[in-house]
């Protein structure tokens, strides 16, 4: 009877027709919380990937999400960005946006950007074009058709290129980049998009120690103005950026706290860190 409800909706007197409402209301962050995730559940063919998960991310925070392989970190990001629909639970962006009711594009337009675990870029477009498409602009059809690269935007892209060290490859097709370069490009796309909330899945996989450091620096700089959620397995890296760390295990939160607390946590050591990375051990070879 969905159509009946739709129909009724059409004649509600307390509101104008939904099509006539202004398209997007800005995100309300009164409570200083950017992302609410409550009682979330997802299962795939009976396998529970996310299990009664609750998580709150503060506005401007840089949050690290760690957890065993298969704990559900990527799946969580999938849900927030609208790729996967959960079985139950709620995901709100600010006070006024129920993300579960939106599709991917709408969520992205709210200012939620994402870097994928497996680097995904537009392989046949040049590095430059990849960045151009990521810019924060009006992304409707007509404006895009008549859009022109402004001087500012051009400069912004140049800046990003510089940051990610791909200035020389700017006209190269993104598909021809090496794995690590693609990682950088994707980070660059995040930078260009100037998102409110960044979801970054394993940014330093395949990077050298020094590049890792540089990434950490970058993310630290982003935090504050942007809300950043980072998933990583590189503990050194996590330590270098993290203020709060959340540990996921089998789809729910196992522990949350500062890096030091986490590294002491017996359970976390057992299921995730192993002795090597436990607090007090010969840390970080």
């Amino acid at each position: 009877m969905k159509w009946l409800n739709d129909f009724r909706e059409l004649f509600r007197r307390d509101q104008v027709w939904s099509v006539m409402l202004p398209k997007q209301v800005d995100v309300n962050l009164d409570k200083n919380i950017a992302l609410y995730i409550e009682d979330l559940n997802v299962s795939f063919d009976g396998f529970k990937a996310i299990n009664q998960l609750n998580l709150y991310i503060k506005e401007g925070e840089l949050r690290c999400l760690i957890g065993a392989n298969g704990a559900g970190k990527t799946t969580l990001m999938d849900i927030v960005t609208g790729k996967t629909k959960p079985d139950s639970g709620s995901v709100w962006f600010g006070q006024n946006h129920d993300l579960l009711g939106y599709d991917e594009a709408a969520i992205a337009r709210l200012g939620i950007g994402r870097k994928f675990q497996k680097p995904t870029v537009f392989e046949e477009l040049s590095v430059f074009d990849n960045l151009e498409l990521s810019l924060k602009t009006n992304k409707s059809v007509l404006p895009t058709l008549f859009a022109r690269l402004s001087h500012q935007q051009d400069k912004r892209i140049a800046q990003v290129l510089e940051t990610i060290g791909l200035t020389e490859q700017r006209q190269l097709a993104a598909g021809a980049l090496s794995h690590g370069q693609k990682q950088w490009l994707e980070i660059g796309m995040l930078l260009a998009s100037d998102c409110r909330l960044l979801l970054v899945d394993e940014p330093v996989a395949g990077m050298t120690a020094e590049e890792t450091e540089k990434t950490a620096e970058l993310l630290n700089k982003l935090a504050g103005e942007h809300t950043v959620v980072v998933v990583e397995h590189d503990m050194e890296f996590v330590r270098s950026i993290a203020r709060t760390v959340t540990v996921l295990h089998q789809g729910s939160v196992l522990a949350e706290g500062s890096m030091d607390d986490i590294q002491k946590n017996k359970e976390v050591i057992e299921v995730y860190l192993g002795e090597e990375h436990a607090e007090g051990s010969e840390a970080a070879l």
Partner: protein, 381 residues
């Protein structure tokens, strides 16, 4: 216009764009030459161009436009439409209906109101959907609007439901197949299998006159040039980049905030309109439109023209259409009983040895001859 400013900026725009201006110029020269050759130079003169060649050229150019339409969606957005002949045919039927109404009482039964095929099938009155088609403007509007609307509805349904890849291809094929069966039915009121034919004149000009033919050819050539330039401009715009991005990774584009389904729908509609224009121009030059135009094989052939020319290159698609159709004309005349071997072999050989089509071949020959400075730089870096 911003759109057009980018066209002339060839230094940055890479290869396909760079040849559009020369190609359009060539097209103009050929058209002019053909027009003069047909109208001014008498038969027997070396410069004479026969009416046969004019109609043939007109047909090729319509097909070229059709190839352009397919290249826009397939080459740039990866939407392999195996049903574009449907839009072409619908446009053609729109024009055909206008031409049919122009016959007036000059039909064999002398019935001013009804086309002949309705008379001998005992139709009492003109069906409602034929009304207005005696007005050229309305008929042209419908000839473009109906295919556009069909493309919109089909695209809106399919792209919104995220029907992609071969699923989409086969559905477009189902679409044109269903339309073909429907138009075969005499009850539909479009002349059944025989379709619409025996046209007399267009806007008062006799279709049999050479001048009309030449003018039609010139219009076709002009529109083809315009559409080529417009399509190029669109593909060079940011819209075009989004389209390519959608082809690469549609979901990634969505995560960047692009409503990819809308981009696809509009591109699809644009392409359908090009196909419809091609159909509109095709019918008066060919003199018949019938459901055979809807056959799925036709749509597959269009795709082949594009592939042979080089997809995603616009001019390549146009050249592919011209080449294949010229080859067909020649081969059917030279080896009426074995030309299919030659044509089939051509398809196989081009696919195997020219993965990027003829246009790609031209490009790589040029590269070999004069390596671009950019390439040299890349090697060193």
């Amino acid at each position: 216009m911003k759109l057009f400013s980018s066209i002339f900026n060839f230094k940055r725009s890479g290869e396909p764009g760079a040849v559009i201006v020369p190609f359009v110029a060539l097209l103009f020269v050929v058209t002019l030459f053909a027009a003069l050759g047909n109208l001014v130079f008498p038969e027997g003169s070396v410069l004479h161009v026969s009416t046969y060649s004019i109609t043939l050229l007109g047909k090729y150019l319509c097909y070229a436009m059709l190839a352009l339409a397919v290249d826009v969606v397939w080459g740039y957005c990866g939407i392999l439409s195996l049903g574009h002949a449907a839009f072409f045919a619908l446009g053609g039927y729109g024009m055909g209906m206008y031409l049919m109404r122009q016959i007036g009482d000059r039909g064999v039964y002398g019935n001013a109101l009804l086309p002949d095929f309705m008379v001998f099938l005992n139709w009492e009155s003109l069906p409602w959907y034929w009304f207005g088609f005696d007005h050229f403007g309305f008929a042209m509007l419908m000839a473009l609007l109906v295919p556009a609307l069909l493309a919109f509805v089909f695209g809106w349904l399919a792209f919104r439901s995220r029907v992609t890849g071969v699923y989409l291809s086969i559905m477009t094929q189902a679409l044109t197949y269903a339309l073909m069966l429907a138009f075969f039915r005499n009850e539909m009121g479009f002349g059944g299998n025989n379709g619409l034919t025996d046209f007399k004149d267009i806007l008062g000009f006799s279709l049999q006159s050479d001048t009309t033919r030449v003018v039609l050819l010139a219009i076709t050539s002009l529109l083809l040039s315009l559409l080529l330039i417009l399509s190029h401009a669109i593909m060079k715009s940011r819209f075009g980049k989004v389209i390519v991005a959608v082809r690469d990774s549609e979901s990634r584009a969505r995560f960047l905030g692009y409503r990819t389904e809308r981009y696809k729908v509009w591109l699809f509609v644009y392409s359908a309109v090009i196909a419809a224009i091609a159909g509109v121009l095709y019918v008066p030059q060919i003199g018949i439109i019938n459901p055979g135009e809807f056959t799925p094989i036709n749509s597959i052939e269009i795709v082949i023209w594009v592939a042979i020319g080089g997809r995603g290159t616009l001019v390549g698609a146009v050249l592919g259409a011209l080449l294949v159709n010229y080859a067909k004309t020649r081969l059917t005349a030279i080896f009426p009983e074995a030309w299919l071997f030659a044509l089939g072999a051509l398809f196989v050989v081009v696919t195997l040895f020219l993965p990027k089509g003829l246009f790609g071949l031209a490009g790589s020959i040029r590269k070999k001859l004069l390596p671009s400075p950019a390439a040299v730089k890349e090697v060193k870096s």
